[in-house]
Subunit: 272 residues, 2 copies
């Protein structure tokens, strides 16, 4: 998928919502827990109930790896289901990978080519040769961790070096890498001043924004400081939507929650 | 396994060799390529041929994930084989994970509890709450990336902040985390001056050292600058050993290469 196609989808759906499929098997309704692939069945129901309100889905690989082979199969079934039934949806493998060059190449091929995701999240600590292999695929993206939304973000990411925080060095350096136009960035919503700084450095890139809702970030502030001319935002919500209800009505309630977010996004888009 | 048990094994085997099981299926001898689990069959032969010369094995998860469900099964079979047949061996899941707290907990449980590895490599970029979940398991270890051996290590890891490189901040900050005695560190062998600096900050922790051999580091220099009172070193070799031959004699040739390294280690240990 190109970023223009993603923007087009955002304008059509009046939504820049990404739904995080971080499925904890202990929170799956009882009637699904006995299925052969319970996490996939859960995802399928959530996707069917929300696909017109969201533009992206983001399974976090930890929740699948935790179940070994069965979890891995559920991840594959989920991405296949999305690609077959909703090809307009942008898919993100939230894997936070990053290793020496030949190893990153293996990860990149696994997620972007073999599994068929549109993008994968990547950690920057190991530098250029750990990220560039993820940028080798046409119309696919690496989403680089810049500023994350957790408390630990302030341990190293905001540490000053030559008058600039580490995340700013990560952004500026990454812009010099080969195929840098295939980069998107994770930018946490928890501090508006950082967010404005990041958008200034990245006028055209998509930002994937965790931390709205449950983690305390405000959608209005994210949009005020972070929206670009082409919108350029994917705002993620995971638990607030997929666990809206723990009962048999989980998919219906997930749609209700997604609709609330989508309607807020629609209002913001109308005011542009 | 405790670090005392690991040291004991090192003294008995006169070796601190870690063998990296980074198995590229295209480099597996033809007669194994048609097995149901070719990577596992390859690993099994390598392990059987070298287990008395090495104290640790380190499969890099990328090489398994690249083969989807079959690869994941090969990884599980490999760790099970090690734990059942050579319980004295220290096992490392080279996964370089790291995510927000509840997600890191899933990864930690998957590798350290469900799969049964003794340790897992972890990336520091997301800070304290992304690493601490890996330190919650008794007699298990998180091996934190401090200074890696690739070119990209110089993009951010050596960047100066308040008069110290980022890797030094990572080490110092991590020492304040809960269960910090369950931390080991990745310390690349490519620059001796950095290596001495790291050992000074970490007089007692084990260092996992990539970059010796193929990547240009010298074993003698690593030991000169990096050996602690309790040795405290695991020196990794991957391709130099497992691909010593591409023919049917791959395991035998791997043993020959491992023996060369072990004998060099034995000499160094005798001079202490």
């Amino acid at each position: 998928m190109t970023s223009q196609q993603l923007t087009q989808q955002i304008l059509e759906k009046k939504s820049f919502l990404c739904i995080g499929l971080d499925v904890d098997i202990q929170r799956i309704p009882a009637h699904l827990a006995n299925a052969e692939f319970p996490i996939f069945e859960f995802n399928k129901a959530i996707i069917d109930a929300t696909h017109d309100l969201a533009v992206a889905y983001k399974p976090n690989t930890a929740f699948y790896e935790a179940h070994g082979v069965n979890g891995w199969q559920s991840l594959k079934k989920t991405i296949d289901y999305l690609n077959e039934n909703y090809p307009e949806i942008f898919t993100i493998a939230d894997a936070k990978r990053g290793d020496i060059g030949n190893t990153s190449s293996m990860y990149a091929k696994a997620f972007l080519e073999d599994m068929g995701f549109d993008s994968v999240t990547v950690a920057p600590y190991m530098g250029k040769d750990s990220v560039e292999p993820f940028l080798a695929f046409e119309d696919k993206f690496a989403i680089l961790l810049a500023l994350t939304s957790n408390e630990g973000a302030f341990d190293f990411q905001t540490k000053d070096s030559d008058g600039k925080p580490l995340y700013a060095h990560v952004i500026e350096t990454s812009k010099t890498w080969e195929n840098a136009d295939r980069l998107m960035y994770v930018a946490g919503a928890t501090k508006p001043e950082y967010f404005a700084d990041i958008r200034k450095m990245l006028p055209n890139n998509f930002l994937l924004v965790p931390g709205v809702g449950a983690q305390g970030g405000s959608l209005a502030e994210v949009c005020k400081y972070g929206m670009s001319e082409n919108i350029g935002l994917l705002v993620n919500s995971s638990r607030g939507i997929i666990y809206a209800s723990g009962g048999d009505d989980f998919a219906e309630k997930a749609r209700e929650e997604a609709l609330i977010v989508q309607q807020e996004m629609e209002k913001i888009l109308a005011l542009r």
